[in-house]
């Protein structure tokens, strides 16, 4: 990969979840997007690795391809970058939306593959599930981090309230 491509990759993939945004926002440099992109490319078939690279070019040049002036993705302001990704993901042209989705896949792997970010996502909490069961009772499961030993099936199920 060229240095230009590496810059594009970092700019594009990071723009899915910019630092300082609401919700789950990574800190600056908390996530190594380029490393993850490289690894996914290495593990993938040749065809998919090629597709990933094409995706970078298409998104990088999308402002030009979409007639928004002679600027690459990297030249857009951060808010414009993120807005553009949203548009590409919902684009009526299959190629635009699928290639952008490939890069979103990389972004998701990088983000949630970073332990500190994953912890903040709350995914690993054993949810206090408030599920209406068939009998109308509310079924609660304990709110415990999944890293702690879970109950064995022989133990009683979560309390019914």
């Amino acid at each position: 990969m060229t240095r230009l491509e590496c810059t594009w990759i970092t700019d594009i993939v990071a723009a899915f979840a910019p630092p300082g945004g609401p919700g789950l926002a990574p800190g600056t440099l908390e996530v190594d997007y380029l490393l993850v992109f490289r690894r996914v490319g290495r593990e993938a078939t040749r065809r998919a690795a090629f597709g990933l690279r094409i995706a970078v070019w298409v998104v990088a040049l999308s402002p030009i391809l979409l007639g928004r002036g002679m600027r690459t993705f990297s030249r857009l302001r951060p808010c414009e970058q993120t807005a553009l990704l949203g548009q590409l993901l919902a684009h009526r042209l299959f190629a635009f939306r699928e290639l952008t989705l490939l890069l979103k896949f990389v972004a998701a792997i990088a983000l949630l593959g970073t332990d500190s970010v994953r912890e903040r996502s709350g995914y690993d909490l054993q949810a206090a599930t408030s599920v209406q069961t068939g009998t109308g009772a509310r079924h609660h499961l304990p709110l415990v981090p999944a890293s702690e030993p879970a109950r064995m099936p022989s133990e009683p199920p979560g309390e019914l309230v």
């Binding site: 979840a17 919700g23 949203g86 919902a90 989705l101 599930t129 068939g134």
Partner: protein
């Protein structure tokens, strides 16, 4: 380059559902057996939680092997000891009666799907500790689906799985950290080893060797554990038979590379799956519970609905948008439920050898298949909304990306959708080296021996003559168990 040489009565290629079962039966009967596996052997400590490491270790090419064409369908396959059983959810289904009937009638497989199959199922279920998912490990995702099925009067039930002592870690895809799932690396490969079988990992078979029409062995390359590049060669001789069990994508490749062509790769089938996400006000807790726990089999509609808890990386990819809206949802991953439908598609494709030696899979869903997809996605969206989802994300291009009312699910039925509008994935593959008593239509005979060759057998999903509409591992194992028992005697 090093050169590895070994010999045994039987050489088995692949250690998944088919290969491990064959090796277990043959070695228990006192035969010498060599198991050859392209992937590594992964103990439970080695299985990573993060998707990047986990998939690199155990999933072939990071799940990027896909069908040909403008809208490729990823074909998930395990590549490690245990094959796809080492990344699957352990769902166990006996072959449905209508499928057995069709295989007898259309392919003459009376012996394989007769009463002997039920006996094999009994043995396997006992050995793998098959049981119904207990309520305590159903998780919010499974419980919610049960609730939705209840409300809509759908015939749902907790799944039967081969995961005794499941603690609900929701990590079937990455590899059970408890070693509870009785995948082949945990169950039958160790049993075969105990009976004296030998296992060569990181060895990719390239072709079957013949003397005349008799298979005499296999040759291939040994791979480096990190780079997966060839570092040596191997040649394993088989005194009695070579058994191909490399899965429905790679077994036909091996046959083609070995000069066998007739019907090979033709008639490939699958169960592509479509998934729909819903976000609830309450926490659902997809990170806790059996990865797959509850199902709604709708065989008359060629679909089966399942709860499916995905690793957060995959879940996040499916949540629409970028930037603030996406990030806000990522901070609430715990509130998502995801259910999928596997479709028994009627279409048949073919597996061929590609430019660089890898597979080329031609597979195009028919109009009827796409209608099934629409019906399934619409029903899933309706179920999620009925169960109380605040927002449902069907993930289908051409329909609204966020649904908030049950009536909106009908838009999926009305929209003029094509296959490319869905995001599909197929992890059940079949019929690329079909069994049939008629050599004009099949690759292997009802004893799973390759037509026109001696000492060469196909014992994996490729030999099943069609898809079934239910999860295939049990059928593969049951069919192979019987064929291997006959071969052993």
């Amino acid at each position: 380059m090093t050169r590895l040489v070994d010999d045994a009565d039987f050489v088995v290629i692949g250690t998944g559902a088919g290969g491990a079962t064959a090796a277990r039966v043959l070695s228990a009967a006192g035969h010498s057996v060599i198991m050859v596996e392209e992937g590594p052997s992964l103990g439970k400590q080695a299985r990573a939680r993060g998707l990047l490491d986990a998939m690199s270790q155990s999933v072939r090419d990071f799940a990027t092997v896909a069908t040909e064409g403008i809208a490729p369908i990823p074909l998930l396959q395990g590549r490690c000891v245990g094959g796809s059983t080492a990344i699957n959810s352990g769902i166990i289904w006996r072959t449905p009666a209508d499928v057995r009937l069709a295989w007898r009638r259309d392919y003459g497989l009376d012996d394989l799907v007769g009463p002997g199959l039920d006996r094999a199922f009994d043995v396997i279920e006992e050995e793998l500790g098959v049981a119904t998912v207990e309520s305590s490990v159903m998780g919010g995702n499974g419980h919610l689906m049960a609730h939705a099925a209840d409300l809509l009067g759908l015939p749902g039930r907790p799944m039967r799985r081969n995961v005794p002592g499941c603690r609900g870690r929701a990590r079937c895809l990455q590899g059970c950290p408890e070693g509870a799932r009785q995948s082949m690396d945990v169950a039958y490969v160790p049993r075969a080893l105990e009976s004296g079988a030998r296992l060569h990992t990181l060895c990719r078979a390239r072709r079957v060797l013949f003397r005349g029409s008799r298979a005499t062995g296999v040759e291939g390359v040994a791979l480096d554990a990190c780079t997966r590049k060839p570092i040596g060669k191997f040649r394993f001789s088989a005194h009695r038979a070579v058994i191909l069990a490399a899965g429905a994508i790679h077994t036909p490749l091996l046959l083609l590379q070995s000069g066998l062509r007739r019907n090979v790769g033709d008639g490939f089938q699958a169960h592509p799956g479509v998934a729909v996400l819903g976000r609830f006000r309450e926490q659902v807790g997809m990170g806790y519970g059996a990865s797959q726990a509850y199902e709604v089999p709708l065989r008359d509609r060629d679909m089966k609905l399942e709860s499916i808890s995905l690793p957060p990386e995959l879940l996040a990819t499916r949540i629409p948008g970028a930037g603030a809206t996406w990030q806000q949802n990522l901070a609430r991953l715990n509130h998502f439920a995801q259910w999928c439908a596997i479709i028994r598609m009627e279409t048949r494709g073919r597996v061929r050898r590609g430019l660089f030696g890898g597979p080329r899979v031609h597979y195009r869903p028919t109009h009827r298949d796409v209608e099934r997809l629409k019906q399934a996605a619409s029903l899933l969206a309706r179920m999620l909304l009925t169960a109380g989802a605040e927002e449902v994300y069907p993930g289908i291009s051409g329909v609204r990306s966020v649904m908030t009312e049950a009536a909106q699910a009908d838009e999926i039925l009305a929209a003029p959708l094509r296959q490319r509008d869905f995001h599909l994935m197929a992890s059940h593959h079949f019929a690329s080296a079909k069994a049939s008593n008629d050599a004009r239509h099949g690759v292997v005979a009802p004893d799973l021996g390759v037509h026109g060759a001696q000492g060469l057998y196909v014992m994996d999903a490729s030999a099943l003559p069609s898809n079934m509409g239910v999860n295939p591992q049990h059928t593969i194992m049951g069919v192979v168990m019987q064929a291997a028992e006959r071969l052993a005697s």
